[in-house]
Symmetry: C2
Subunit: 410 residues, 2 copies
């Protein structure tokens, strides 16, 4: 490691937070944008919910250990990272399921408007869920329309019920201008639904201030909540009394334990609960969130930008951009917390990097993503990744036939 | 404990399975029909997924530790208890969310039929979800119609797309005749969707043989998968190629990691996956299922019936039925694995029992449920519950004002 890099780590106010995580030895983990590393406090919290709350308190834990309020409590713990005042964020289900709830809500609020406007190349599940609801409702009531980013404003016409897009694109790492886009959508009379999968926990978000209508996001990336951690959703206060969502399961009822014959929506965001939540997974997420509380999101963002800038400068200064195309914008405000490069043999590059213990991921057909998690990644990590990437490119080991097979999950 | 009761426990071929569970000391736990007790193997499985799979293998676990196939693997482990051949059961989401998927499927398959036929007094979430889909689709495409059990056959007319009902009623513990009802529904040209929440894992079920169309059920009752354990769903092979469900998230896609622009349903039951599953909670369920594999469902059922019969005989022989009305049918084939009694002061009775360490639950407005989990409940448990119940009734302590307040969860 160079001296200047060591100095950057020495001056990093978040450097000590790395100690809050279990990280694999001799490994540079740059895939926290896919699955965050394990915070040290999680194991004991999970052991407690299993070995004490479930084992000893059993059914009484729903009251005694507040399982019944856990979706709200975890939602409230997430809310500050979204710039959301109390009572608008709920931890529940998956992003896919939450998108369905919110798209249905938006279409109902805006009928007879019928278009879900989205970006081409957004994360697939967003479009898939929109296609699911469009097929269910029929084309008279719903249509998914997708456009390139530069066509977005023109596409915001009187048909659009809701604009749905991800703040940070999962492929390029590009960040869109939430303030301007939200304002444009509102000016066109549409609602806006932001997917925060690649920004929550790593970029300051101001849902309330920007008057955003709805949002979803996930617990397993920058919140480090563990594999398939429950997701979250945000419903702005001003929609809550009118909003109806069709996954009206019993825990969204005004009084679930009255076992009433007919559904009556609970107050506020509560009505966005559906069935019984996976408590063990939700407790893991709850414990993971405590690490973020040791710092603040502005510092996290500052370090994130420093790491990605360091990495992008390194790509250029080492001449790696002769081969690779960097997809991630240079302007800090247009970046998330990952750097994405394009190369025909991206699969081989990703596998050669992983073999050399630099954990990145591949996105078909030709992208390698380097995700930087400011809570545990260091500048030394970034330098090491650059070193190995330079080696892999120069000796062309990515062409080796041992990298020819792709598994089910990439 | 009486000698004859001790003898019953001594002769019980499942008695040794109690050792597979952590049970609270000096407590009779009769609420396994709400939350199953903790199997001893779960803690180490959960520690392994957190401390090894997540911590060390990180993102590679999706392949290396087969997280990507976990919903199918757990589904396959559940399938034998449902009488389902391979490829029809998936572990995913909650019962509520799975009901939505399957009701939407059934309505699409049977259009222009538009009625969801259900029983009055079935578990509320089933009706709530049907109301959610009816409100979303509009009355021209969907109506929830509810009838008393004795009106069921008459109500099966040409409008009915799908009959949805729970095999064992959560209030009364009454079990319905799945064979006869399924046949009647099919004779009327309707599909049938069974909710197995109170029967899976404790009653032999024969979905394939009875030609059932769809089913759902939960992981946290007789499968002992932990609080809010993921649920399961069953889609009969004959519907799988045609079936479409609207919660078309990315993991239900034919090739999720192709990140294709448009949704293409995966083959078979796979298309019923939506978003990323909560792996930690699913691993807990997976480990819990191993206890059931130490015996077989016929033996479980035999013991279940013996326990409930013992308890019901005890209610009668102690004269407790002068006060209490037993709601659970006497005929074995019409019982699930719980005994429910009705009394005006049911809330006070349930709290007095719990205070005396007999853990039961209350269902508003006037029911106390005694749930028997044959894997860990003994005849001694049943006798102890009868003893305490007799005391509580004779000294009327259920009237005490310390039992006047009801918490959020009952």
């Amino acid at each position: 490691m160079s001296e200047s890099t060591a100095q950057l780590d020495k001056e990093d106010p978040l450097a000590s937070l790395r100690e809050q995580f279990h990280l694999p030895e001799n490994t540079v983990y740059l895939d926290g944008n896919s699955l965050g590393a394990l915070p040290k406090g999680v194991s004991s919290a999970v052991a407690d919910v299993v070995e004490k709350q479930w084992r000893e308190d059993l059914i009484s834990s729903w009251n005694k250990n507040d399982w019944i309020r856990l979706p709200n409590l975890v939602g409230e713990a997430i809310a500050p990272y979204l710039g959301a005042a109390s009572g608008q964020v709920l931890c529940s289900d998956s992003i896919s399921v939450n998108l369905f709830k919110l798209l249905a809500t938006a279409l109902a609020l805006k009928a007879p408007r019928r278009v879900i406007l989205a970006l081409e190349e957004d994360f697939p599940t967003d479009a898939y869920i929109a296609q699911g609801i469009a097929q269910l409702l029929g084309e008279e009531r719903c249509e998914l329309r997708r456009v390139a980013p530069d066509q977005l404003e023109d596409a915001l016409n009187d048909d659009v019920a809701v604009l749905m897009l991800t703040e940070v694109n999962y492929r390029s790492g590009e960040r869109y201008d939430m303030a301007a886009i939200t304002e444009a959508a509102h000016a066109a009379g549409a609602l806006v639904l932001w997917d925060l999968a690649h920004s929550a926990g790593v970029i300051p978000i101001e849902l309330d201030r920007l008057n955003v209508d709805f949002a979803v996001g996930c617990g397993y990336k920058y919140f480090n909540g563990g594999p398939g951690a429950p997701a979250f959703l945000y419903v702005n206060h001003r929609h809550q009394s009118e909003a109806r969502q069709p996954l009206s399961g019993w825990l969204g009822h005004r009084d679930p334990f009255a076992f009433a014959a007919d559904y009556e929506a609970g107050s506020g965001v509560q009505r966005y609960q559906a069935g019984t939540p996976s408590i063990i997974s939700m407790v893991a997420l709850s414990a993971a969130l405590r690490v973020l509380q040791l710092t603040d999101i502005a510092q996290i963002r500052e370090k994130s930008l420093a790491l990605t800038a360091f990495f992008m400068r390194g790509l250029a200064s080492r001449g790696l951009l002769d081969d690779l195309e960097c997809l991630t914008p240079e302007e800090p405000e247009r970046r998330g917390s990952q750097v994405s490069v394009r190369y025909e043999q991206a699969w081989g590059i990703s596998q050669a990097l992983i073999e050399a213990k630099v954990i990145v991921d591949f996105r078909a057909p030709d992208i390698v993503r380097f995700g930087f998690a400011p809570l545990y990644n260091s500048f030394a990590d970034a330098e090491r990744a650059l070193d190995i990437l330079a080696e892999v490119l120069s000796d062309q080991r990515y062409l080796d036939e041992r990298f020819s097979e792709r598994p089910a999950v990439t």
